[in-house]
Structures are given as structure tokens and as C-alpha cells.
């Protein structure tokens, strides 16, 4: 990848560009334990990126945080960020409205290896807000549906209220995505419905619901650390998918995003530049030093 497509001008490595928020949309309401999630639609200015990449978002007056891009590159002229109000900067971001400007530095990171997956069946495993970066890839795949085999989505969240993109799920189903849902704690109503197929329990319990051909499947994962850990185990051990084809994204709090500040080191990898997308073989190597999840 050349410097020009690195996403930032070499001389102005730390300078964000000004981007206007076009639309703000509520995704998940606030709960007792977690903050609300909102989708921020941004102007794109012809920026090209790959699914799985992230950007450093500046909320003026608050600071800069890494946020993954959750819209597909093929989607017209916008970029969507799905952000939970969890920390100092993300809470400040939630206070912004349509028309406000934020700083955008990116795209950064390596992104999903989508080109090398053509012809394969794709299995997406997401937990909670982890669906946001996977959505970028999932929808990109739907833009190029013919290049891939089956597309499956296993998605789990804490409660039915915490499920993201519930408006998009029926649309994905119509485009041929086999969707399976799970929640840790049901609410009595949600379990009664049958479409899409669902279960109460952690997302890994959905593995027994699907049948697939491990020799032609690539799995993509994103979610909380504990989920990634168990899902990777399940995928390789129970579903027999080779570790090289289990691909997960890691989350760390980068300060620079460009391999300078040292905050995102996991074992000998810098998540911002070497990642955030790693396959299970790489992750296992890292785990021999310290657990990346």
C-alpha cells in the first residue's frame, strides 16, 4: 500500500480533515449498564477505503478516538460510524447534531482481505456492537453477491434491545443472507418469534444450528474479547474451519492510529498498522505471549 492511499498526507500525519455530519440516527437506546448507540452519517469526499478499516475521529474540544467504519465502500457517497457512548470522547460525539463538523483521519489499518475470499462461503459471527465493522464487509459482499457462495450471519447480543441494525436484518435476508440471532437474556416476547431463527444463550450456541462445508468457508468475527476467544475455539474445533480462515478484528485504544504512539501493542503486533484484522493463526501466536482478547 503506498503512502498516498495510507489515508493521511505524509507531512501532516496528525492532521484530520474536516467532515460534516449529514445525519444522526438512534440505533440502540441507553440501558442501565450501557450507553446508547447512534449511527453518524458523514460526508465522504470521494474517500476510498476497505471494509474493516478504521478512522481516528476528532470531536473538537474533547479529543480523538479510533472508530471503525461501518458502511460498505461501495455505498454511494457516505460513510457511517456506529458509536456507543462509552467514553469521554464518544459521549461528546453523541452530543453533536446534523451539520456539525468532526475531524476525520483515515482510513487506517489493514482491513478485511475480501479479495482473497472470492468463491468462498462467508460466515459472519458478531457480538453486540461488534456487528458495526462486520456490517461494512457484509454489505460490501452483498454488492458483489455473485463473487461469493453462501453468506451466513450469526449475531448475538446481551438482550433483544441490544441487537443492532434490526432494520437492516430483513433486507439482508432478502438478499440471501442466512441470519441466526441469539441473546444472553430474553425478554419473554423476543423468543416467541421464529424469523430469523433465534436462541437464548451466547452466540457460540448458534454454531450447532448451522451446517457448512469447512473446506470452502471463511469466518469473520467481531465482538467483545471473551466472545472472540470462545467463538474462535468453536469455529476451529467444532466447525473445523482452518485457523488461517478465521479472521477477527481486535480493539485497542490507539492514540495515533499510524504506528507511532505505542498504545495498541499486543505481543509483537501494532493493532493500528499490523491490524486490526488478524487471522486465528496470527492471534494464536500472539496469545502465546499475551492474550489478545
Amino acid at each position: 500500500m503506498s503512502e498516498a492511499t495510507f489515508g493521511v498526507e505524509p507531512g501532516e500525519l496528525y492532521r484530520p480533515r474536516l467532515v460534516r455530519i449529514v445525519k444522526v440516527e438512534d440505533e440502540i437506546p441507553e440501558t442501565a449498564l450501557t450507553g446508547p448507540v447512534r449511527n453518524f452519517y458523514l460526508e465522504r469526499h470521494g474517500l476510498s477505503f476497505r471494509p474493516g478499516q478504521f478512522a481516528q475521529i476528532t470531536v473538537f474540544g474533547a479529543g480523538e478516538v479510533p472508530i471503525s467504519l461501518s458502511s460498505p465502500p461501495s455505498l454511494g457517497d457516505g460513510i457511517i460510524l456506529s458509536v456507543r457512548a462509552a467514553g469521554f470522547v464518544s459521549k461528546a460525539l453523541h452530543r453533536l447534531k446534523e451539520g456539525d463538523r468532526i475531524g476525520f483521519r483515515g482510513p487506517l489499518g489493514n482491513g478485511f482481505p475480501i479479495e482473497s475470499c472470492t468463491g468462498y462461503d462467508l460466515l459472519f459471527v458478531a457480538g453486540g456492537i461488534g456487528l458495526a465493522p462486520l456490517r461494512s464487509l457484509l454489505e460490501e459482499v452483498l454488492y458483489r453477491r455473485q463473487q461469493f457462495g453462501r453468506v451466513l450471519l450469526l449475531y448475538g447480543a446481551r438482550t433483544p434491545r441490544d441487537l443492532m441494525f434490526t432494520r437492516s436484518i430483513p433486507i439482508w435476508q432478502r438478499q440471501g443472507v442466512e441470519v441466526f440471532l441469539s441473546v444472553d437474556i430474553g425478554d419473554g416476547v423476543w423468543e416467541k418469534e421464529t424469523d430469523p431463527p433465534r436462541k437464548v444463550g451466547v452466540v457460540t450456541t448458534l454454531f450447532s444450528e448451522v451446517t457448512l462445508d469447512p473446506s470452502r468457508t471463511v469466518a469473520f468475527l467481531c465482538g467483545p474479547p471473551i466472545m472472540i476467544r470462545f467463538a474462535l475455539l468453536g469455529l476451529t474445533r467444532d466447525l473445523h474451519i482452518p485457523p488461517e480462515r478465521c479472521i477477527a478484528t481486535l480493539e485497542r485504544h490507539m492514540k495515533c492510529g499510524v504506528g507511532k504512539c505505542g498504545h495498541c501493542i499486543v505481543a509483537d503486533k501494532y493493532v493500528c498498522v499490523d491490524g486490526p484484522v488478524f487471522n486465528y493463526a496470527q492471534l494464536e501466536k500472539m496469545a502465546s505471549v499475551e492474550e489478545p482478547w
Binding site: 442501565a32 449498564l33 467514553g87 469521554f88
Partner: protein, 531 residues
């Protein structure tokens, strides 16, 4: 400039701006030597305390020079609460007028003075003299905390000791240079024993004796030959007089919390037998018995925010002289800017009793120091009284008796000093330190209840959920935080909740032996709150 005496004598002279400028760390009571070089702080290698090392707070201390919380202008608050800038000279003139008026109307006993352990000994002496000349016996400081006047020992003695008992404190976060000496002593084969309700960082390498909070002294053979280390925790649990009676005074080292806490005591700026302590002064102000309060660098709202608010609402006149903006200075009628320790000349006295002379390494933004302001006020208002020397502490030999846990109330609640970053306002004013301090606050914005994981499980409490803490006198709801180092049967709350929880559970009281507010370890029971 730093000149230090005692143990090793030496000095580092005045140097010009492009050089390393030597001074003393303004945080804890050990007084590390700091060299300011190109705008940031570094440890002095040949200083007897720092020996090339500093704690995080010290490393970040140069940030205090240009902190946004610096006070650089005088401010006066009108009755509606609006603030206006005022020059220091005009402010002082107004203060003199007001204090004279109040003294005439209500008598000198309606005035009170609070000093600070962040000032130089000379300044504290001037502030004490101001109180004397105003004729008021009420002078003290919240930064005296649970100070106990134990005999002098050098850190070298800690390093060389064969047997050390550390009571109720963890030197790793509180007095890191002592931690360092303990590690070295450990390598020399010293037997180290920690006594307390919570394990210290070094406990895995040494012996740990678990006790309920407030009962540590029962497990100590005070007359033994070993060296005993303790800090304010003991006094703040009401055990001040007891520690004084039980421990071998010649073999005990008290670790002070503020850079010049010992200087504060040596300048005799604590209440006389008739005078009120800082906490009682604040209560008297709330009850309308104190009419005017002069505060030099002290911050009562760090510990008692509600009481401070009530007191300041009732006071007829209040002056806060400080170089950082605090919640207290926000409430004062008149705020006057002072100078930072690095901007003045004077001496500070560390925990060992080592006197260090410091000289200015930066120009004061206002040209006024707290000492000069006190001197000005003494000149203008003086001759009301004679110099009064308070008797040595403790005043009485009666201790506060902590609760004993029983069937109904099986836990003892006390203060968590492991998250107590003394000199809180300085921590707040330095960005690098504040990030470390605030993660606590970000995770638990309303404070927490620290509890051992087994206890939590037995009581049905999950982390981050709410628990009802109930004593015989009242109850309060707190968020659960698991603490792996805390022993069974004890629960702790952060020092910032001292007032709130103390009042709710009836644990907040006054220790007459030291005239300080205390958190009496109180028996409580826990239950899960409905979420």
C-alpha cells in the same frame, strides 16, 4: 535551588534557565529532589531522598507550573454569586476592612484561620502569627490529617532495618520512596510485616497480617525492637492516641502526606487546647459561630464538600489564598492568587525531619506569595493578641473505639487509602496524573464499595451493581467494586465519600485526642439493591 540538611548534607545551587533547575517535589511528604529541565521534571540523582527516582506525580509536577487550574487573578464574588476580577492590592484592602469590622462586631473568637501543608514553614509561621495577632485560638489545617509526632528516622534507617512493621498503609501508591527502601531492605534480608485490612503491593513477598480496619494496633507488639511505619490512616480511624501510647516512639516513623506537613506542625499551626480543629471550625461556621474564615492553601471541600458549602453559605466573609483553583476557592467571597512552591524561597520539612531550603526556579505570575499576604494582613490587623504555643499532640490519651463486627452486622467499613492520591487538587491540575486518577472516577463516578470477591459472592453482590450498606444508624447505596487485595470481612469506600457515607452510617466523628475528623470503622451489613 535545593539545600538539604540532616543525614546527608548538600546543595544544588542556583542555575540559569537552560540548565537543570533544582527544587523539591510538591506532592507527598518525602520531598524528593526534582530537576526541571526543558520544561519537564526529572529526579535528582544525588539527592538523598529521590536517588534518581520519582513517582508518577513527581514526574508530572512540571505541568503544575502552567496548569489551567492556576489562579493568577484576584476574584471577588458579589451576593448573586457573580465573580469579578480584583487587583490583589484592592482585594487585600477590602479584606482588612471586612475582617476589622467583623472582629469589632463579634470579637476575635469569631475569626478562624486555616493554613496548608503545601506552603513553606516560614509562610506557615507567618500565618500562625496572623492568627495570634488577630487574637483567635482557632487555627488549623485539613492537611494536618492524622499527623502523629513520632520521632525522627531517616529513610536510610528503613533500608538498613532488620525488622519492619508497616501499619495500615501501603507505601507503594502513597509513599513510593518508602516502598523502594522496603524493597531494598527485603533484599538485605529484613523481615517485613504488613498489618492491615488490605494487602500492600509488596505483601506477596513479605508477611501479611490481616486485621479488621481500626484493630491493627492490637496485632502489633509495639515495644519490639523493629521499626514501625505508619501514616495518617491510623489517626483517621480514631487510633491516634492509642498509637501514641502503644508504639515504641523511638522506633516509629510517621509518613507524612503533604510536602510540608511536618513543617506545619513545627510552625505550631494547630489548635490550642481552647481552639477548634479545622473540622470543628467548619462546623462552627455552618452553625454561625465563626463569622469570617481566612484560608491559605487549604481545601476543606476535598474531604467535606457539603459541610464546606453550608459553611460558606453562612460565613459573613471568607478569603481563600491559593495558587490553584479549588472547589473551596470557587465559593469564597474573595479569592487571592498565591504562588507555587517552586516560585518562592523558604524551607520545607519532610517526613524524616530533613529540612530542605528551596529557592524560586520560576517567576511567580503575580509576585505575591501566601506568606507576603499573611504578613500584610498581620501588619494591618495585628496587635490583637499574644503569641500562643499549643501543647504537643495528642491532647488526651483516649482513643475512639472502632466497632466489632457481629452476627447482624458482619462487615467493618472504613476508608480506602489505596485510591487516595493525597494532594488531590495537584493531581487534578496535572494532565498525566489526572488520567490515572480519573480512571477510578470514570469507572465509578459516584464512588464505590470495595469488597473481597468471596464476600461479594456470599452476599450476592455482583461487580458494578448497587449494594445497600446498612449500619445501626443508617444506610446508603453504593456501587460494588471487587478488590482482590482486600481481606475478608472488611469493606472500604474512597476517601472522597468520607463525609457522605460517614454521615449516613454514623461513622463520621471527631477524635478529641488529635482534634481531627475521623471515620470510625463501623459494623455494617450488605445486601443487594433492587436494580
Amino acid at each position: 535551588m535545593v539545600r538539604y540538611v540532616g543525614g546527608k548534607e548538600g546543595s544544588i545551587g542556583h542555575l540559569n534557565n537552560t540548565d537543570l533547575r533544582a527544587t523539591v517535589c510538591p506532592y507527598c511528604g518525602l520531598g524528593c529532589g526534582i530537576g526541571v529541565w526543558d520544561g519537564s521534571a526529572f529526579p535528582l540523582e544525588h539527592h538523598p531522598v529521590s536517588q534518581g527516582g520519582l513517582f508518577l506525580r513527581g514526574w508530572a509536577s512540571a505541568e503544575l507550573l502552567k496548569s489551567p487550574l492556576r489562579l493568577v487573578r484576584g476574584q471577588i464574588r458579589d451576593p448573586s454569586g457573580r465573580k469579578q476580577s480584583v487587583s490583589i492590592e484592592d482585594g487585600l484592602r477590602l479584606a482588612v476592612e471586612k475582617i476589622r469590622e467583623i472582629k469589632q462586631r463579634y470579637g476575635p473568637e469569631s475569626l478562624a484561620v486555616l493554613a496548608s501543608a503545601r506552603l513553606t514553614t516560614e509562610e506557615i509561621a507567618l500565618i500562625k502569627k496572623l492568627a495570634d495577632s488577630l487574637g483567635t485560638p482557632h487555627r488549623d489545617s485539613f492537611q494536618r490529617l492524622g499527623f502523629l509526632p513520632f520521632s525522627y528516622h531517616y529513610l536510610d534507617d528503613v533500608e538498613a532495618a532488620q525488622e519492619i512493621t508497616v501499619i495500615a498503609t501501603d507505601p507503594a501508591p502513597r509513599h513510593p520512596q518508602v516502598h523502594r527502601r522496603l524493597v531494598r531492605a527485603y533484599y538485605h534480608g529484613c523481615r517485613i510485616r504488613f498489618v492491615g485490612c488490605r494487602q500492600a503491593a509488596l505483601s506477596p513477598l513479605t508477611t501479611f497480617v490481616g486485621t479488621p480496619p481500626g484493630w491493627e494496633l492490637d496485632r502489633v507488639n509495639g515495644k519490639g525492637s523493629g521499626l514501625t511505619l505508619l501514616s495518617s490512616e491510623v489517626g483517621l480511624q480514631g487510633q491516634g492516641a492509642r498509637a501514641w501510647n502503644v508504639l515504641n516512639r523511638e522506633r516509629t516513623l510517621f509518613l507524612t502526606d503533604y510536602v510540608n506537613q511536618r513543617g506545619l506542625m513545627e510552625a505550631r499551626c494547630y489548635p490550642t487546647r481552647d481552639g477548634m480543629g479545622a473540622f470543628e471550625i467548619l462546623r462552627a461556621a455552618r452553625d454561625g459561630r465563626i463569622k469570617a474564615l481566612l484560608i491559605f492553601g487549604d481545601d476543606p471541600s476535598e474531604f467535606f464538600p457539603s459541610l464546606t458549602e453550608e459553611a460558606f453559605a453562612r460565613l459573613e466573609w471568607s478569603v481563600v489564598v491559593d495558587h490553584v483553583q479549588t472547589k473551596t476557592s470557587d465559593r469564597a467571597h474573595l479569592t487571592l492568587p498565591g504562588s507555587f512552591l517552586w516560585e518562592k524561597e523558604g524551607t520545607v520539612c519532610n517526613t524524616e525531619g530533613r529540612v530542605q531550603q528551596v529557592g524560586p526556579i520560576e517567576k511567580s505570575p503575580t509576585g505575591w506569595t501566601e506568606g507576603q499576604i499573611a504578613l500584610f494582613l498581620t501588619d494591618q490587623l495585628g496587635n490583637g493578641g499574644n503569641e500562643v504555643t499549643p501543647p504537643p499532640l495528642p491532647y488526651s490519651s483516649s482513643s475512639v473505639i472502632p466497632d466489632t463486627p457481629d452476627q447482624d452486622f458482619p462487615f467493618l467499613i472504613s476508608l480506602d487509602f489505596s485510591t487516595f492520591w493525597n494532594n488531590h487538587i495537584y493531581c487534578h491540575a496535572a494532565v498525566s496524573v489526572w488520567r490515572e486518577v480519573r480512571s477510578e472516577k470514570a469507572d465509578f463516578p459516584d464512588g464505590y464499595l470495595a469488597i473481597n470477591a468471596e464476600d461479594a459472592q456470599a452476599a450476592g453482590l455482583r461487580p458494578f451493581t448497587l449494594a445497600i450498606v446498612e449500619s445501626r444508624e443508617g444506610k446508603i447505596t453504593l456501587r460494588v467494586r471487587l478488590d482482590g487485595r482486600l481481606g475478608k470481612g472488611s469493606v472500604l469506600i474512597p476517601v472522597s465519600l468520607w463525609e457522605k457515607v460517614g454521615a449516613a452510617l454514623g461513622a463520621l466523628s471527631v477524635d478529641p485526642s488529635l482534634k481531627i475528623p475521623i471515620f470510625r470503622p463501623t459494623a455494617v451489613r450488605l445486601q443487594q439493591a433492587r436494580q
